[in-house]
Amino acid sequence: MNQHPFRDVAIVGVHNTRQARVLEGYDSRTITMEAALGALADAGLTPLDVDGVTGGNLSAEFVYQHRIGPVWKSPSGLGIPAVLEAAAAIATGLASVVLISSGSAGAYTQRESTAPWTRPGNEFVAPFGMFTAAEFALIARRHMITFGTRPESLAEVAATIRNNGSANPEAVYYERGPFTPDDILHSRMIADPFHLLDCSTTSEGGCALVMAHADIARDLARPPVYVLGGGIDYYGPSYQNPPTFDLGGRRDPRYVNGWVGRRAAERAFATAGLGPADVDVCEFYDPFSFEIIRQFEAFGFCAEGEGGDFVLDGTIGPGGRHPITTDGGTMSYSHAGSQPQLLQRVTRAVEQLRGGCASRQVDGAEVAMCSNGGSGALFTDVLLLGKEAG
């Protein structure tokens, strides 16, 4: 049998800064620096131990300010793609300790409009009033038309995630609950079928993690968490073209945008030698309630069209077989601008596998699955993490 490609790659440090609706006194640069130092401290490392960075251009700022160059740097990666890039860099010897940092503060100031990262600039969508809630709503509505998926299923997802956040002392919306599905359905409508409480929030904060070669990880403060597999699925640029459910590529009719992430999940599970039944924690990305239903179908946890029923039987809540988004996600924990939120599913999965989460710790968690993206955005990334190396 071939060696696992990431057998020597571990996540050794994670940190979320304080998250808030508005972080007074910070900008994106300073909160990113704070996140980076926090993740290094968590790992028991210093800036001088870092020989690679990724996670967006603010990571380059860290290199300059701390004068740690020359280092390996990838300019592209955000969220899960950054983790996979860093894993590849470590596995191939391009770097041995990689810092992934991101942060956002002071980016959303025109509150009468939707957040700037939600508003597309393209000629074929912008004149029709599109923003992320509307983009994702068109996908959700198509699923409801085709499969009879009901608003009650969407509300169950939103109530579950918001209750997770309400129990999390680190969440921006700590102790705002409890929420029942009825509370979700009675909140004001934003973009049908999404009520206010079906949607993610906006907030500010930083998030960072440190990855290292297993030889280094063994001697560090925290138990290493291993990369078991991953995948990246794209259908094109986000928010520039009509977000259609049946948008497909020319290569394989099994893969359409409505279930984007299916190919990524198949690859991740194949690399890991695991399947959906092995996943103990589903740190799924939650921009809108329907996206959780869609991801359970895309990732193979249930059949196409069955996601609405899948989330109703207690499976996704605390103590369920596939607990979701355990810290409250973007709906309640923090959205943290356009970028850190993509990394925050990973930091929480790491904490779940280490044990000792501030809230909603999943007992005996061995394998966690993280995701980014969604059908309104034409992409989905997945990551499988484990307590034991692959």
Binding site: S113, F124, G129, M130, R141, R142, A191
Partner: protein, 142 residues
């Protein structure tokens, strides 16, 4: 009862590219244009250099019937920017020639929309001369 209407305010204007100029020029001339492939005869939208079905570069502009059916919709109550009057209704239209486009539904109550509803093009010229393509329900028997 809330009648869905075309927007008239300072909403985002399209900025045509060299690729999309024929589409926007077509609307100004009263036509809804799309690209047809000379190799596989499939339709392509948004404007592209190659056919979305077969990859051929043999694309020719054609004029659409402007008719189709509503494939999916959302009623928006929290606008993208304050310049949009709510509610408005983004829709994906499956156009008769076999392509899909994003637009807004107008000319009916926001609760009247159903999947598969037949719709037709209705052009609206903004005060600065930009023409936007909207869709309205096709009256029974029309």
């Amino acid at each position: 009862m809330t009648l869905l209407r075309a927007q008239t305010g300072a909403i985002p204007r399209p900025k045509p590219s060299s690729l999309s100029k024929p589409f926007w020029d077509g609307l100004a001339a009263g036509e809804l244009r799309f690209q047809r492939c000379g190799a596989c005869h499939g339709a392509t939208h948004t404007p592209a250099l190659v056919c979305s079905r077969c990859g051929s570069g043999d694309l020719v502009w054609e004029v659409s019937s402007g008719r189709g059916v509503v494939e999916t919709w959302t009623t928006v109550w929290r606008p993208q920017t304050p310049e949009f009057v709510v509610p408005y209704m983004p829709i994906v239209v499956a156009v008769d020639e076999g392509w899909q486009m994003l637009s807004n539904l107008i000319g009916c109550d926001h609760e009247a929309v159903v999947a598969g509803m037949p719709v037709e093009l209705e052009l609206h010229r903004l005060d600065d001369g930009v023409t936007l393509p909207y869709f309205r329900p096709i009256e029974a028997g029309a």
